[in-house]
Structure formats: structure tokens, C-alpha cells
Subunit: 152 residues, 2 copies
DNA sequence: CACAGTTGGAGAATGATTCTCCTTTACGAA
DNA sequence: TTCGTAAAGGAGAATCATTCTCCAACTGTG
């Protein structure tokens, strides 16, 4: 069975290949940033990644971390945990319901609980966790953005 | 069948009662803010709410909108769409998986696709939408935060 | 109607993110 | 291996979202 260490190396190797394939220069900083994210068990913020990377290369700039995160997101090497961070989004609908989020225009449409069957967990979820509620987020393209991409 | 208009009035009436019950003063601004959120089909940001409310009361301050949003969230009158906005959170794990989010400390734990049964939509989802993927977000308290709240 | 405690307004302060501008580096070609 | 060019990095200013501070105005009670 592979250890966590070799698994990280596998991902870093794949990362190098994907950079080459995408025409992205393979810089020291880029590899450190990617490695910091892959090695993290949590889902780190740019600031945390910066703190981690700075331990090995104190001269790195926070702007470089941000720039590369966006580069990696565009290249599909990373994923954002939330499709709508950046600004607080609110709702007054307190009934159980789910969301359909357009990844392009960030519009959010509600889906009633009755529109999907209840979720069943195969096993007891993580010991010690108290689950209060769950929400399903469907990500995709809304009709307008589907059209817009076709035309372009 | 109730029209959208009367439904909004119903919610505003309930809002007034809940304010009274929670000891919150019923100000002109509060009602406008709540009404703007309830009336919105989308899931508005504070800035959008401000723009809307300002049309009726140009003297309102953006800080007031923010303050009241937080007041309403604490009173349970509103809900945040995303439990982890505020800072970009990233992951390199591109496999289908889900998230367990602690609402108190914002820690995110991955849940493998195999840990829950697939979701079935009862009907064809919204015409015209292209669904690319879905993620289930379980919200609750992690073991550490559960303990912390017991002790307090 | 007056009082006391909330709440609102304005603008400064803070934190996250992006931009600008100039220097340095990666990497294909010679 | 060296060179030239385009891509990338660093520093700090600029911008955007959000929060705070401080004082004036308002709500709800007596």
C-alpha cells in the first residue's frame, strides 16, 4: 500500500506533466505551492499556503501564491471548495432545499427537497461529528450561459 | 393559490413577530432589508441588498445592512448559502467526493463518494441546465467544537 | 411625552485579493 | 552552453468586501 508520501510524489509528478502539457513554466515557486496544497489534509486558504511555502522560500510573495492559484484553477489542476465564495450570499428560505449553481455566472437556483430522493449514508459518518443538516450543490451551466458558450 | 406577493407579506409578518419575540426593535431599515431578501429570487449579496434598499431609503448606510444581516443570521431569520465564504478554499483532490463542514471552526473534512449512496433526482432537473457535478455538504459540529460548546 | 437602551449613519480601519511595474527566470534556438 | 524572449516573480500600492468607532436619532416603555 502506498504511503501518503509516495502518493504526494505521484501527484507532483502528474502536476509537472500537466504543466508541461499546458505550456506552463515549471518554476520552483509553482511546485512549492502545488505541493503545499496536495500535502494539506485540510482545504487551505491562500494565506495558509503562503505561510507554508514561505518556510522553504522566505522570499516568495503572496501575490505569486494568488496568481498561481488562479493559473492552476484555470488549468483544472485545482478546484475551489465553494463555487460562491467572495461575497456573502443570503436566503430567507429556511425550509430544507438544495442549490443549482451556475459555475459561469454564479446564479443560484433553489431546488426543493422533494425534487431529489433523500441521501443515505452507507456507514455511520465520522465518529464524534454532529450533523445538523446537509445541502446538495449541483454545479453546472444555466440555460443562458450554455447558450453564451455555444455562440462564442 | 397564494400569489408571490401575499407570500412575501406572510413572511414579513412572521418576521415582525420574530423580531418582537427576540427583543429586536422593529425599525424601518430592518424591515426594508428583510423584505429585499425575501423578495429576491436569487440569493443576494449585502451589496445587492443595499442597492435595492437604497432605492426606497437613500440615506441608509451599508454598515447598517451588514449589521442587520448578522443580527438576522444570529436570530435564525436568515441563512448563509455557503458555510465557508470569506476566503478561497482549495483542494487538489479532483475525484468525486463530498464535504463535512464544521459550522463553528470552518474545518472541512472530505467524504469519499463511496461513503454515501448516489443521489437520485425524482424528476428531470430544470430544463436547459447542464449539470456537471454535484457535491453534498454536511454541516455540523466537529468533535473539538462539540466539546468546546459543552464546556462553555 | 420623557428616558434608557438600541440602532443607524458616516467614514475610517481592516483583511482579502488584485494590479502595476519592474526585475528575474525558464526554456527553446543558435 | 549561451542568448533572447516571453513568462513569471517580488514589492508595494490599489481595490473590494467587511467591520469598527463614535456620535446622533429612533424605538418601545412607563
Amino acid at each position: 500500500m502506498p504511503t501518503a508520501g509516495t502518493q504526494i510524489e505521484t501527484m507532483v509528478t502528474a502536476f509537472r506533466e500537466r504543466c508541461r502539457a499546458s505550456g506552463l513554466a515549471l518554476t520552483h515557486q509553482r511546485e512549492l505551492i502545488y505541493r503545499a496544497i496536495v500535502s494539506s489534509k485540510h482545504h487551505p486558504s491562500p494565506e495558509l499556503i503562503f505561510d507554508e511555502v514561505r518556510r522553504q522560500t522566505p522570499s516568495i510573495s503572496l501575490a505569486t501564491v494568488y496568481k498561481n492559484i488562479h493559473t492552476f484553477l484555470e488549468a483544472g489542476l485545482l478546484r475551489e471548495v465553494s463555487p460562491h465564495h467572495g461575497s456573502l450570499r443570503l436566503e430567507a428560505n429556511l425550509a430544507e432545499h438544495h442549490h443549482l449553481v451556475c459555475t459561469r455566472c454564479k446564479a443560484i437556483v433553489d431546488l426543493d427537497e422533494s425534487e431529489l430522493e433523500p441521501i443515505h449514508l452507507s456507514r455511520k459518518l465520522r465518529a464524534g461529528y454532529q450533523i445538523l443538516r446537509y445541502t446538495v450543490e449541483f454545479q453546472g451551466l444555466c440555460p443562458a450561459c450554455t447558450d453564451a458558450l455555444k455562440t462564442t
